[in-house]
């Protein structure tokens, strides 16, 4: 029998995989991919809790989060393309030059 704990533990594991990507990778696009994984893990937790509470609010929040993630991808990719044009690199360490 599936319980809320099943879904929450799965969401925790998926979030950890995303965090591993954030910590491990140096490529900016890879960091974006890892962020998407983490956002999806949180969405699963939202929907699972909404299901167990018999409440629709969690699903609405998950929907908002999908919209925010899409906006983030658009803005982030624009900035990354600008950065790549200037520095010919996708290495996150080159962003150290943003330091004032």
């Amino acid at each position: 029998m599936l319980t809320l704990a099943h879904y929450l533990v799965f969401a925790a594991l998926l979030f950890s995989v995303g965090l591993f990507g954030i910590l491990r990778r140096k490529n900016i696009l890879m960091l974006f991919f890892s962020t998407e994984i983490m956002l999806n893990a949180i969405n699963v937790a939202f929907v699972a809790i909404a299901h167990s509470l018999k409440n629709i609010d969690g699903q609405v929040f998950a929907l908002f989060m999908i919209a925010v993630a899409a906006a983030e991808v658009a803005i982030g990719l624009g900035l990354v393309i600008l950065w790549h044009r200037k520095h010919k690199s996708l290495d996150i360490d080159t962003l150290v030059r943003m330091k004032g």
């Binding site: 533990v9 995303g18 999908i66 290495d91």
Partner: protein, 170 residues
């Protein structure tokens, strides 16, 4: 029964695809695996009676977000192998494993506490018991997550304070 089977099937597939995303050196493989992981995540929404969200997940993530990444990669000429200077690759792996243990404990502990409710019956909190006992009881059953998040926040604040205190002046 079928639901449980589907859950474990899609959980394994999603985690496997996510792991491919964070470990592969080819950015095209990473993007394709990401799309697959998003499709598998939508399966959980269908399992949780959130059909609309499942459809939106496939449409927005696989239809829009991954396609946006694909366009971005055309601009970036990023389809070749990723060269990354990995420093101490064991440290992030250990950190992520530690975080996975902490998160699973955090999210699973209230349910374990709930199922072990004979403890609750034996304690039977009422106004006659001492305030300390009552606070301890409520803190470690109902508000366990908030309690542990508070503890973690305090640890982060302390480490941050130390890090900024020992920062070298430029």
């Amino acid at each position: 029964m079928l639901e449980t089977l589907a859950f474990y099937f899609f959980a394994a597939l999603t985690l496997g695809m996510a792991f491919v995303v964070v470990t592969t050196t080819n950015i095209l493989y990473a993007m394709t695996s990401l799309a697959a992981a998003m499709v598998f995540v939508s399966a959980f929404f269908f399992l949780l009676d959130a059909e609309f969200l499942g459809v939106v997940q496939i449409l927005v993530y696989v239809g829009a977000v991954v396609v946006m990444y694909a366009f971005g990669m055309m601009f970036l000429n990023a389809s070749q192998e990723v060269q990354e200077r990995a420093h101490a690759p064991k440290v992030p792996a250990l950190l992520a494993i530690a975080l996975a243990v902490v998160l699973v404990a955090l999210l699973g502990a209230p349910f374990i506490a709930h199922y072990a409710h004979n403890l609750q019956e034996s304690l039977n909190p009422d106004l006659d018991t001492s305030n300390t006992k009552l606070i301890g009881f409520v803190l470690f059953t109902k508000y366990l997550v908030a309690f542990e998040v508070g503890a973690f926040m305090l640890l982060v604040a302390l480490v941050g304070a130390m890090a900024s205190a020992f920062k070298k002046e430029n």
